[in-house]
């Protein structure tokens, strides 16, 4: 395992974690909005 490989590995992991977090955050907002609309 070279340091370059490990750095690239971590960079990809981090980027994927950020996108996943953003998608989950968007889902939380969407589910909240759906719940509010359905209650009315």
């Amino acid at each position: 395992m070279t340091p370059e490989f490990e750095a690239e590995y971590r960079r990809r992991q981090k980027a994927r974690a950020k996108v996943t977090a953003l998608a989950l955050g968007a889902m939380v907002i969407l589910f909240f909005a759906i719940a509010v609309v359905r209650m009315h």
């Binding site: 395992m1 490989f5 590995y9 994927r16 609309v37």
Partner: protein, 301 residues
């Protein structure tokens, strides 16, 4: 850190997962779904409407991912698709399968819980149709594969309408058949003048299997009923004159171009002008036709 001491491939980038969803195909699917929803005579809450369109997009993404998962071997043999995440070796096949199945199940569940059961059922049927009937079963077995694929692409109009109304009527069924009958002339016009390597990959595309002459006749054979179905909503008084006249003029031009293709005997792909004209016009045709339908229905309702 110990997990990194064993030799292992790099994890796929998030862009590779996005590429699995075929974003360009998704735009047409979202457009027809949105038109189906906006043409419906029922007002849908913007949040629910957005959720329905999101589910249609995610369902289309699932289809794309599962298609790439199943066809990784085929994609590797063709220039156009060899750079996709799986044949290029940027992603594990299992990850693509999990991503596709997860996306598909999530989109259907969300549609069912947030919108309604009918739209969820049609979405599930369209995903299964595209993956099982088209990709796995018929794509490599028949030169009519594009016709079957066209049916899968025609579902979103039905889903959009069902999301708004909770039921189906004659108009969304006609919209389904418009896209269904539009797909073969659109795709075969392209297949006639573009050099493809489907034959080398073992996919029986019409121009390769049946020849240019038969393909040209089939282009016309599908364009004619497509034009009739496009004008039918006006004839049945489901729309007004805005849509009716637009559909009539556009369809006459489409059939005229299809006749030119049908009569053409050009064998050199570089000189196939009628085919190029029909392909370019077919894109405009569907967008303007559906746009006029929505505008007309909004004024009518």
């Amino acid at each position: 850190m110990s997990s990194l001491t064993v030799a292992q491939p790099l994890p796929a980038e998030w862009r590779d997962f996005l590429a699995l969803t075929k974003p360009r195909v998704m735009t047409l699917v979202v457009f027809t779904g949105l038109c189906g929803m906006l043409a419906a005579p029922v007002h849908i809450h913007p949040v629910i409407g957005f959720t329905a369109i999101l589910c249609i997009a995610l369902g289309a993404g699932a289809c794309g991912a599962l298609n790439m998962w199943y066809e990784a071997d085929l994609d590797a043999q063709m220039k156009r698709t060899a750079r996709r995440p799986l044949p290029a070796g940027r992603m594990d096949r299992q990850a693509a399968l999990h991503f596709g199945v997860g996306l598909g199940v999530f989109s259907v569940l969300l549609m069912g819980l947030a919108v309604n059961l009918l739209s969820a059922a049609i979405l599930a049927a369209s995903i299964l149709f595209y993956v099982v009937i088209y990709t796995v079963w018929l794509k490599r077995r028949t030169p009519q594969n594009i016709v079957i694929g066209g049916a899968a692409g025609a579902f979103p109009a039905l889903i959009g309408w069902a999301a708004a109304c909770g039921r189906l009527d004659l108009l969304p069924v006609l919209m389904f058949f418009m896209v269904f009958l539009w797909t073969p002339p659109h795709f075969w016009a392209l297949a006639l003048f573009v050099e493809t390597d489907y034959a080398a990959a073992g996919v029986p595309m019409m121009p390769v299997v049946a020849g240019a002459r038969t393909t040209r006749i089939q282009v016309f054979a599908y364009a004619l009923p497509m034009a009739v179905v496009a004008v039918l909503p006006w004839g049945l008084k489901l729309t007004g004159a805005i849509y009716g006249l637009t559909a009539l003029i556009l369809s006459l031009v489409f059939v005229g171009l299809a006749v030119q293709v049908g009569l053409s005997k050009q064998g050199d792909q570089a000189l196939m002008k009628p085919e190029r004209r029909l392909f370019r016009f077919s894109i405009l045709y569907l967008f303007v036709l559906f746009g006029a339908l929505v505008a007309d229905r909004m004024l009518l309702v």
